[in-house]
Structures are given as structure tokens and as C-alpha cells.
């Protein structure tokens, strides 16, 4: 969608913090804050994406949020995901090294590794019902959702075409918040 660049992400607590601390300490601590926001965002995407039916086999199986390769979130993510549910499935954070183990993941953050760049990971997960998320601070390779900073706020680009190829449907409500949207090809 073309109106993605109209939106800005407001980062209230960042501003409050910046206004009340010294610049030096602020630089040292902005990274974890940005990471915190991203960590908070990650499990939320699940509410705006539809997976093909039968993606999660059993009712009590967890909703798996996988970090493949580098993990910028650490404990932060575990905390935010701790009490979250997606359609009554508890969210579980799994950290894996390569896409080989990503069979049961619903959301995969492609952190990249020495062996596998995020783009390679993306290619490896092609066709599978997994929402891929990448981060601009970790490289230019883009998944379906690509975190980026705009006007000092954490926002994201969405590649709906890519999601479409993996049989995922992203809600328009989420699309409307994106900086940019790469629309999916119309299928007839």
C-alpha cells in the first residue's frame, strides 16, 4: 500500500526517557529500548495474520515464535511473550540455528547467521506457512515484515506478495500501519 509512508510510529516512552536523561547515557540505552519495542511487536503480529487451517495440529499445541540465527531480543522477548495466546494457543519462543528446524514455526524472525543470511533463510522457508520477520538494523534482506526506524520510531514494511506466496493473509488493519506495502499479485 502506497500510504505506508504517511504513518509515523510514536514512541512515547522513548521521548519521555530522552527528555529526562543525559545524551551520553541515552545513546547507550536506546538500543535496548528499540529492541524492547520490536520484541513487543513480534507476538502481536499473530493477531493480524491468518494461517492456513491445520497449521497447528492439536488444540493444545503451542504457537511457535522462532528466532532463527542471531537473537537481538534475549530475555525481553520471553517476557513479552510469556502470557500471550494466539487463538488459545500459548505463545512459545524457540531459538534455532537454521531453517532446517523451522518446520513447526508460525512466526520466524530471520536474524541471519554466518552460514545462512536472512535472504537465504527466506528462500529456504519459501512456500511454508511461516510469517517471516527481518530487521533493517541487521541487514537489507527483507522478510514479509521488515522492521525499520522512521522519524525515530519503530515501524515496518510489509511484503504482502511474499506472504501470499506462503499462503498467509495479512489483515488490512496491519497493512494500514505499514510504512510501505508490497502488494500481492492478483490471482484470478
Amino acid at each position: 500500500m502506497a500510504r505506508g509512508n504517511l504513518y509515523r510510529i510514536f514512541f512515547g516512552f522513548v521521548l519521555l526517557f530522552a527528555a529526562s536523561t543525559l545524551a551520553a547515557t541515552a545513546i547507550a540505552q536506546t538500543a535496548p529500548l528499540e529492541t524492547q519495542v520490536k520484541a513487543a511487536f513480534l507476538p502481536k503480529f499473530a493477531a493480524y495474520v491468518n494461517w492456513p487451517s491445520g497449521t497447528i495440529a492439536a488444540p493444545n499445541d503451542p504457537f511457535e515464535l522462532c528466532i532463527i540465527g542471531r537473537d537481538p531480543f534475549g530475555r525481553e522477548l520471553d517476557e513479552t511473550a510469556a502470557h500471550q495466546y494466539v487463538d488459545q494457543h500459548p505463545v512459545r519462543v524457540r531459538r534455532i540455528d537454521s531453517t532446517a528446524d523451522a518446520e513447526h514455526c508460525q512466526i520466524a524472525f530471520l536474524g541471519g547467521s554466518a552460514k545462512q543470511k536472512p535472504a537465504a533463510m527466506q528462500d529456504a522457508l519459501r512456500g511454508k506457512p511461516i510469517l517471516t520477520v527481518t530487521d533493517a538494523s541487521l541487514g537489507a534482506d527483507r522478510g514479509m515484515v521488515h522492521f525499520a526506524l522512521k522519524d525515530g520510531r519503530v515501524r515496518f514494511h510489509i511484503d504482502d506478495a511474499l506472504a501470499g506466496r506462503n499462503n498467509l493473509a495479512i489483515s488490512a488493519r496491519l497493512l494500514s500501519l505499514a510504512i510501505s506495502v508490497k502488494p500481492r499479485a492478483r490471482t484470478s
Binding site: R8, I9, S171, R173, S176, L177
Partner: protein, 580 residues
């Protein structure tokens, strides 16, 4: 005033205000209902808006995108109804929103609930996967009271109009009721007066009847006294010894004349009472008039001159001769009375063809003119009414011209009168001409007294004087008379074997009437001739004489002779026939 009408009036007095009240209440209720449903509708609309907004800002709130949330809230600005739109986070802090009046947009959700004003409020939770992540608060404006009232003005107007109509109707009805009551009162008064009037009229009629009766009896008494004076005087003279033959004949004639007039008078009375049936005969009126005048001339006095102009070939008329003579006599007597100083009475007869004719038939007109005082025009139209008389009380019965009128009408003709005060009066009797020929010869012969051999006659008569007279007359005629005073006595005589050829019986008798007696005798001796005689009888008039010959009282010797002789002859003829 009936209970129902009271109820009706009371009912009306209650119904109209009640109806107005009900209408007003119904109108208010409609307005209230409308208001309620309007508010409810507004509430629902606001709620729906809130839910739509809640759904559309989920992601924005979820990802903390104030700009996107604000944009969604601003989209509601297009709806002027929405005054406040607030989006609050899970903690209740304001996240985005707007208010048309800034003061109205609360910073915290808890304030939103308590803020008041003429607004419709709605809240909707912002849900993400079953979890509440925030709240949307909307406040919609309600149309100002004036606009709402304008909307209800039509209802109010209709209600008021209807109430007005009802009130007018009620008032009209009440006014009508008042008028009706007045009318009913007037009607009652009128009916009362009508009843009063009827009673008064009844009294007046009674008084008139008594007056007429007095006049009648007075008139009759006067006339009869005159006649009785003549009879008594003549009889006194006849009793004197050594009376010349000429005088004897004159006074005897005077008695006969007076009796004849008395009989005419009673005949008139009976005719007036409609108890005497007409016995029409075909008559030559000229002949009757001449006979009558010859008899009348002496009684009218020397000052009255009778003259006649009679048509030669006058058509015959079928009338009752007795009644005709009575009518003529009545008119002539009136004419005489109208000329106390004397004058001429002219009697004319003529044939009337067409024109004047009664019912287009040929008719005969008898006209009597006098040179008397005449009759006032206003009295002229009353002269044919019974009991109307211009004569003093005791001088006339008021029946004379009434008899003339009745006779003419009953005979199928009519009577007319013309009069000019000071010049005289002309009275015309029109009688229909008869197609029947005149009887061959009018019987004028003297009765042959006792020509037949004398018969035995049973005379039944309760009145001693009349009985003596009848016995004398019958004896003079050469008959042998056996007398009985009443019906049972006659029956005893008959059963006792007394010999008689004829029964001559009065009709009106105490105990057994002549008719009953005749019936009983007829059963015993079917061939016995029975002659009845009466002056007046209801029964004879009503039922007829049942075939028995009737001799009317008063009877003359000739009449009696003819009746008895006829009966004897009939009996002898049947006897002869039986002998063959």
C-alpha cells in the same frame, strides 16, 4: 324525563371531556414513545459507530500508532452527530480522539463515563484475539429540543384539532339536547291543550245536541199542538147537537186533514232518523202536485195564492210518493211562513235534458218560488242542515229543508236553493227521470167497504185506545173481531180453538213482539194470513217484515180495508186451489 334520557345526557357530559382527555393522553404517549424510540435509535447508532471505530483502531492501538488511530477517529467528523470520539488504552489513558468542544474530551476514560450533558454515550471495547486492549468512547448529540418539538408538532396539532372538533360536537350535542327538551315540553303543552280543546269541543257538541233536541221537541210540540187544536176543536163542534150536514162534513174533513199532517210530521221525523226506507214508485209528478194543492189550499189561508206552471209532457220519476209530498209540503209551509202578509207561491215543473241534468241523465225539475222575505246569503248555505232554523224556538223543527235535501239525495237527485233578500226564494228539486212507464191507471177509486163477506179477525194490540179504534174500524168494515192484549194471550186463543181467518197484530209489545208471535202462529197454521202494524220498529227496519205485509200507523180506514181484503182474497184463492 326518562331514566335513559338522563343517562344519555349525563353520559354525553362525561364522554366528551373523557374522550378529549384520552386523546390528549394518547397524543402525549405518542410523543413520549417517539422520543424514547428516537433516543433509543440514537443510542444504537452511536453504539454501532463506537463498535466500528473500536474494530478499526485495534491495530493502531495495538502497535501504538497514534496517528493512525487519530485518522480513524477523525473519519467520524463527517458525522455531525458525533460530538466526542475518544480512544483509550488498556490503562484508561487517552490515546487519540477529538471533540467538537475541546473541554468535552476527557483525558482519562473514567472521566468520560461521568461527564454529562445532553448527549448519547456509547463505549465499545477494543479487542485483539479475545483480549481487551482498550476502549472507544463516543458521545453523540441529540437534536435540540426545538427541532424535536417541531417533529412532534404535527402530532400535537392533530390531537388539538381532534379535541377541538370533539368539543364543538359535544357542545352542539348539548345545545341540541336543550332544544329537544324545550321541544318536548312544548309538545307536551300542545298535547295537553289539544286534549283540553277536545274536551271543550265535546262539551260544546253536547250542548249543541241538547239545544237541537230542545228545538226539535219544541218544534214538534208546536206543530202537534196546532194539529191537536184543530182536531180537538172540530171534535167539540161535531159533538154539538143539530149540526148541519155541511158543517159535519167540513169539520170531519178538518180532523182528517190535521191527522194526515200529523202523520206526515212523524214520517218526516222517521225519515230524518233514517229509519224509514224509501218506497219508490213511478209517478206522474204533475198529478201528485195538483192533488196535493187541492188539499193544501184551504189550510194555507186566503192570503196565499197558489199557482202552477206545469209542463204538459212531463217525464215520469221514480220516487217515494209520501216523501215527495212531505218535501213539497215542507217547502210550501216555509214559503207561507216567509210571507206573513200573503203572496203568491208558484210551482213549476219541467223536463231537464243535458246541461243541468243530474249525472247526465234526463231529469225532472220541480221549482217552488215565493215572494217572501228571502234568506241572508250567510244563512243560505246552512238551510239544508238538520236543526237549522230561522224561526223562533217552538215555531219550527229545523227538519223541513233537511228532509227535502235528504229526499232528493236519496232519490238520486239534488236540491238547490236561490234566494234574494226582499225578493223571494226559489227552491228546485231535481229528480232523475224514470225509464219505466207509468202504471196503467192510478188507483183513485174508493175502497169497497166490506165488499167481501165478513171475516173473523184476531186483533193483537197492547194499547187500549188504538185497540178500540182498530176494533171499531174493522167492525165498520164488516168483520168479526177477537181481541188479544199481548202475544201469549193470542197464542192461547189460537190454541183454544178460536176461529179466525186473519191475524192483525201490533209489532212493538211487551213480552212477545208481533214478529215472534207471527213466527209461532205460522208454525201452527202456515197458511194463516198475518198483517203487522207499527208506528215505528227497530226490528222491522233492521230485519225487514219477513214477508208479512205491514200497515203503517196511523192508518186510515181505506188502508186497513185494502190490506184486510187482500189478505182474505189471497187466503180464499189458495183455499180454492186446494179444493181443486
Amino acid at each position: 324525563m326518562s331514566f335513559a334520557s338522563i343517562f344519555e345526557r349525563r353520559g354525553l357530559a362525561i364522554v366528551v371531556p373523557l374522550a378529549v382527555l384520552i386523546l390528549l393522553l394518547a397524543g402525549l404517549w405518542m410523543i413520549y414513545e417517539n422520543e424514547q424510540s428516537y433516543r433509543h435509535e440514537q443510542q444504537r447508532a452511536t453504539q454501532v459507530q463506537a463498535e466500528i471505530l473500536a474494530a478499526s483502531v485495534t491495530a493502531a492501538l495495538d502497535f501504538g500508532d497514534r496517528a493512525a488511530a487519530q485518522e480513524s477517529a477523525d473519519a467520524l467528523r463527517a458525522n455531525p452527530q458525533v460530538q466526542v470520539a475518544g480512544i483509550y488504552g488498556a490503562s484508561g489513558d487517552r490515546f487519540a480522539g477529538y471533540a467538537r468542544t475541546q473541554a468535552l474530551l476527557p483525558l482519562h476514560f473514567s472521566e468520560a463515563r461521568s461527564s454529562n450533558g445532553g448527549l448519547v454515550r456509547a463505549t465499545a471495547p477494543v479487542m485483539r484475539s479475545g483480549a481487551k486492549i482498550g476502549t472507544v468512547y463516543l458521545a453523540g448529540a441529540i437534536d435540540p429540543l426545538s427541532r424535536r418539538l417541531a417533529r412532534y408538532a404535527m402530532i400535537a396539532l392533530l390531537v388539538v384539532m381532534t379535541c377541538l372538533v370533539l368539543a364543538v360536537l359535544g357542545y352542539g350535542q348539548a345545545a341540541l339536547g336543550r332544544v329537544n327538551r324545550t321541544l318536548a315540553d312544548a309538545n307536551r303543552e300542545l298535547q295537553f291543550q289539544m286534549k283540553e280543546r277536545g274536551r271543550t269541543e265535546e262539551q260544546l257538541r253536547e250542548a249543541q245536541k241538547m239545544q237541537a233536541l230542545g228545538q226539535l221537541t219544541g218544534g214538534i210540540a208546536h206543530d202537534f199542538n196546532n194539529l191537536l187544536a184543530v182536531i180537538q176543536g172540530s171534535a167539540d163542534i161535531l159533538q154539538r147537537p143539530g149540526l148541519s150536514e155541511e158543517k159535519r162534513i167540513r169539520f170531519t174533513n178538518a180532523i182528517i186533514e190535521a191527522s194526515t199532517r200529523g202523520a206526515l210530521l212523524t214520517g218526516q221525523l222517521l225519515a230524518f232518523a233514517r229509519r224509514q226506507p224509501l218506497r219508490p214508485e213511478v209517478l206522474d209528478l204533475n198529478h201528485h202536485i195538483l192533488t196535493m194543492l187541492a188539499m193544501l189550499q184551504p189550510t194555507l189561508g186566503p192570503n196565499i195564492i197558489l199557482s202552477t206552471h206545469l209542463e204538459q209532457a212531463l217525464l215520469p220519476a221514480e220516487v217515494d210518493p209520501g216523501q215527495f209530498e212531505a218535501a213539497l209540503l215542507n217547502i210550501i209551509v216555509n214559503a207561507r211562513d216567509a210571507m206573513p202578509d200573503g203572496g203568491q207561491i208558484t210551482i213549476r215543473t219541467r223536463n231537464v235534458t243535458d246541461g243541468e241534468a243530474v249525472e247526465r241523465q234526463h231529469a225532472v225539475a220541480v221549482t217552488i218560488e215565493d215572494e217572501g222575505s228571502g234568506i241572508e246569503p250567510d244563512q243560505l248555505k246552512h238551510v239544508f242542515e238538520p236543526f237549522f232554523t230561522t224561526k223562533e224556538v217552538g215555531k219550527g223543527t229545523g227538519l223541513g229543508l233537511s228532509q227535502v235535501y235528504g229526499f232528493a239525495a236519496q232519490s238520486g237527485g239534488e236540491a238547490r236553493i236561490d234566494s234574494e233578500v226582499g225578493r223571494g226564494t226559489t227552491l228546485t228539486i231535481l229528480l232523475p227521470a224514470s225509464d219505466q212507464p207509468l202504471p196503467a191507471a192510478q188507483q183513485v177509486e174508493q175502497p169497497e167497504v166490506a165488499k167481501e163477506p165478513a171475516g173473523h179477525i184476531l186483533l193483537v194490540e197492547d194499547n187500549e185506545d188504538v185497540g178500540n179504534l182498530a176494533e171499531t174500524l174493522l167492525g165498520e168494515l164488516g168483520h168479526i173481531v177477537v181481541r188479544a192484549r199481548n202475544g201469549p194471550e193470542a197464542l192461547r186463543l189460537a190454541e183454544g180453538g178460536a176461529r179466525f181467518d186473519i191475524v192483525f197484530s201490533d209489532v212493538v209489545m211487551p213480552g212477545m213482539t208481533g214478529l215472534e208471535l207471527a213466527e209461532k202462529l205460522k208454525q201452527r197454521r202456515p197458511k194463516l194470513p198475518i198483517i203487522l202494524t207499527t208506528g215505528y220498529s227497530d226490528r222491522i227496519t233492521a230485519a225487514g217484515s219477513q214477508g208479512f205485509p205491514v200497515v203503517r200507523k196511523p192508518y186510515r180506514m181505506e188502508t186497513l180495508a185494502i190490506a184486510v181484503n187482500e189478505a182474505l182474497a189471497t187466503q180464499r184463492r189458495t183455499d180454492e186451489r186446494l179444493q181443486f
